[in-house]
Symmetry: C2
Subunit: 418 residues, 2 copies
C-alpha cells in the first residue's frame, strides 16, 4: 500500500467554486494539496486571498514545472479547452468542471489522455456531488448495465419543481434559480437542454463506451412546457421532469436521449426535487439502484472537484473500460417513442408521422394527444421544438418494435377529432 | 492503460448466490472469469451444473496454483474464515460475502492483507447491491465525511415495512421475509441487530478508519418493537426504522451505533422500504447524498460479488485510506441520546439514569416517555433490551453536550405520572 503524493495546484478561475476550493485546501493540510497560483481574468476585482497568489498570465501556471495539477473551473469553454489540452501536453494532471468543453471536445480529450498518459478527471461536470462517473467507470465495469435514467440538470429541475409545487410561472422560477446560483450564466444552456445533453454525452462514454457529439443526440429542454401540460400531469398524478435516458435494446445496441418526460409519483426520479440530481441504474441482478445528491450550486461542485483532487494523490485515471477493454456499444435509432404532444394548431403537427394514436383530447384553447412515433422521424424533423408545440415522453416511452404489437393504426380522422 | 487479467475462480458455496454467479459467468465470456471448481458440503444434492465441477475437498481449490481467485459465499462464519485466511496466505485474491466473519475477524483480516499483499474484497457483505464500501473507500477519501446514516439490514426493514404498511404482525412478516429469501438462516441475527452491527463494524473502518469489535458498538434490533410503538409513530407521521449511524462530533471523535429510530416521513431513509437498503452521507460542501438499492436477496448479493470479481481483473485493492493514510478517527462515548422508552412496568426502567424527560404518556396498558440519557449508561446497563421494554431513538437523537442546554432536570415524580 503506497502513500499518496503531494499535489501542487495551478487553479484557473476564482469564482464561487474556485474560491470555495481555495478555502477548503487552506483549512485541510492533511490533503497535502496546495494551490500555488491562481489565474484570473479580471485583476481589478477584490478577492479574499493574498494578491501574490494571482496572475492573469496562464503560462505562469502551465509552464511552471513545480505545478503537477491544473484545476480548471472557468466559464468559457473555448479557453478551458486551450488550458486543459496544453496542461495535459505539458505533463500535468487536470481536473475540470467544464461539461460543455468536455462534451464538445470529447474525442480529442480521449486522444490527448492516451497520448500523454496524464489523468483527466471531471466528476464535477456531471451531477456535481453524485459520484456517477466514478461509479460507472469502476463499479458497473461489466456488460450488465441494462439502463440508466437520470436528472442531470439541477437548474431545470429546480424550475419544474417550483412550477409544479409552488405555482410559480416559468420566468419567476428561472430568476429564482439564477439568484440562488443554480443556473448557468446563459440560461438557454440549461433551459433548452444543452447542458443536460452535454453531460449525457460523456456519461454515455462511461456507461456504454459510446463516443458521440452532443448534436447527434435527440434532446430537448423545458422551454415549451406550459401550464396546460402541468395540469395534465397533475390529473394523472404525475410530474414532468427533464430526463436523460439510455437503455440497452434487444438488438444489443443502445437507445439514448434527453427529453422531458411524465414521471409517475412512485418513480425514483419523482423523489428528486429542486436543484437535486438523481440517477437510476438498472443492472443485471441488482435491480434498480438510485443515487441522489445536489447537482448544482458552488459547494456541491467544489466537493466533486475536491474528490477528484484527492484521487490524483493516488494517481487515479479513468480507464474508459467500456470503450477500450470491452466491445463498445453502438447507438441505435431503430426504435419508437411514446409521446404526448400538446399544441395550438394542428397544421404544425405532422400527424402522418405517427404510427398510432392512443389517446386524444381537444379543449377550447389547447389540444393534445398521445401517440407513437419512430425515433428517426423525431431526429430528422424537429417541428416539435417550435410553434408553441410541446412534446413530452409518456408512459413507458421506449418501444423497440411495433411489429410485435397488434395495433391497428388509427388516424386522427378516424378518431373523429378534426 | 492496461488490459485486464484473466481470472480462474475457485468457488465455495453453491446456494442461490453461488449458483447465480456460476450462471452469469457462463453467459458472459467477455468477463474472462471462469469457475474452475466449486467446493460444496453436501455432494448428494442435485445441482444444475456438471458433476465434474464439484468437490467436497477444500484443498482442491486452495492448493490449486492455477486458481487465482477464491470466491466464498457460504453460510458458516468459522469455515469461511479458515477458507479466506488460507487463500490469502496461498497467494490468492479473495471475494467474500460473509459479514459476520469479516466483522468478527476484522483485525486479523487487515493484517493478512498487509502481510500477503493479496486483495480481499467484500462489497456484497454490506448493503448488497449498493456500492457503499467502494464509494467510502474511493470517493470520500478525505477528512470531510461529517456523518453517515444507513439502513443496512434488508430483512428487518422488510418486516417493519410490512408491519407499518400492511398491518402484518411481527411473526407473519418474519415468515414472509424468510420465504422470500431476505432473512439469514438464523433470524435472530437479523432481528436482534447482530447482522446490522456486523456490517456497521467494517463500514466504520472504511468511513472513518475505526477498527472495533461488533460487541463494542451500542446496538439493538427490532425484537421489542410492538404495536403501541407503531401507533405512536403513526400519530407523529413517522416511521420506525433500524438505523446504523455514525457522526463526527465537535470533539473530533465519532459517535456510532445501530438502533431503531423514529424517522420523519420526509427523511431520505423513509423512502427505503421492504428489503431495500439506503445510505445517507453528509460530507463537506456536498450536503446530503443518498444511495439506494436492494440490500437482501440472492441476485443483488450475486451482483455485488460479480462487481468485486470484475474489479480484481484490474488488481483492485481496498487501500483503507482512512486507516493507513490519514489519522484514523476514535470512537467517542461522550455524548447523550434522545430516546423514546415504552414499557409495561416502571420498576424495570432506571429513571434516575435519565438527565431529563421531555414528554411522557401513560395509557391503560402501556406507558412511554421521551428522555435524554448518557450514551455510557446505555452501553453499561442494557435494561432496555429486556423486560418487554422498547427503546427507540427519537428526534435528532445525538446531543453532544447537555451543559449547553438550559434545561431543568424534571423528575417523573414532578411530572406527576407515578
Amino acid at each position: 500500500m503506497t502513500a499518496h503524493k503531494e499535489l501542487t495546484i495551478g487553479l484557473f478561475g476564482f469564482g464561487v467554486v474556485g474560491e470555495g476550493l481555495y478555502k477548503v485546501l487552506e483549512k485541510t493540510p492533511s490533503l497535502k494539496a496546495r494551490i500555488k497560483k491562481v489565474c484570473i481574468k479580471n485583476p481589478e476585482k477584490k478577492r479574499q486571498a493574498p494578491a501574490s497568489l494571482f496572475t492573469t498570465e496562464k503560462n505562469e501556471l502551465l509552464n511552471d514545472s513545480s505545478i503537477n495539477v491544473i484545476v480548471e473551473v472557468i466559464d468559457d469553454a473555448d479557453a478551458a479547452f486551450q488550458i486543459v489540452s496544453t496542461a495535459l501536453k505539458n505533463g500535468k494532471n487536470v481536473v475540470s468542471a467544464s461539461k460543455k468543453m468536455i462534451a464538445e471536445h470529447l474525442q480529442e480529450l480521449l486522444r490527448l489522455q492516451q497520448q500523454t498518459g496524464q489523468s483527466f478527471l471531471y466528476e464535477s461536470a456531471a451531477c456535481a456531488s453524485i459520484p456517477v462517473i466514478r461509479n460507472l467507470e469502476e463499479y458497473y465495469d461489466n456488460d450488465l448495465l441494462h439502463s440508466i435514467k437520470a436528472i442531470v440538470n439541477g437548474s431545470t429541475n429546480f424550475i419544474l419543481t417550483k412550477m409544479f409545487e409552488e405555482g410559480l410561472d416559468f420566468r419567476q422560477a428561472l430568476i429564482l434559480a439564477q439568484q440562488l446560483g443554480f443556473a448557468e450564466s446563459n440560461p438557454k444552456l440549461d433551459v433548452e437542454g444543452f447542458d443536460a445533453v452535454n453531460k449525457w454525452t460523456f456519461l454515455l462514454t462511461h456507461a456504454y463506451g459510446i463516443v458521440i457529439r452532443p448534436d447527434e443526440v435527440l434532446f430537448n429542454g423545458i422551454q415549451n412546457i406550459n401550464a396546460g401540460d402541468a395540469t395534465v400531469a397533475r390529473e394523472k398524478n404525475q410530474q414532468i421532469k427533464l430526463v436523460a435516458q439510455a437503455k440497452k435494446l434487444q438488438n444489443g445496441k443502445v437507445a439514448a436521449f434527453v427529453m422531458p418526460q411524465f414521471i409517475n409519483h412512485d418513480d425514483h426520479l419523482a423523489f428528486v426535487k429542486n436543484e437535486y440530481n438523481g440517477v437510476v441504474i438498472e443492472s443485471g441482478f441488482a435491480d434498480k439502484q438510485f443515487f441522489y445528491g445536489k447537482g448544482a450550486g458552488s459547494l456541491p461542485t467544489a466537493s466533486a472537484v475536491l474528490s477528484d483532487i484527492a484521487a490524483l494523490r493516488y494517481d487515479y485515471h479513468y480507464e474508459y473500460k467500456k470503450l477500450y477493454h470491452h466491445r463498445p456499444h453502438e447507438l441505435s435509432n431503430d426504435l419508437y417513442l411514446r409521446t404526448y404532444v400538446s399544441f395550438d394548431d394542428w397544421s404544425y403537427v405532422p400527424r402522418d408521422d405517427f404510427e398510432w394514436i392512443e389517446e386524444w383530447h381537444a379543449g377550447e384553447e389547447r389540444k393534445y394527444f398521445v401517440g407513437v412515433i419512430a425515433f428517426e422521424k423525431l431526429l430528422k424533423n424537429t417541428w416539435w421544438k417550435e410553434n408553441n408545440t410541446s412534446l413530452i415522453l409518456a408512459g413507458d416511452p421506449i418501444i423497440e418494435s411495433i411489429e410485435l404489437r397488434n395495433v391497428k393504426k388509427k388516424s386522427l380522422e378516424l378518431a373523429g377529432i378534426i
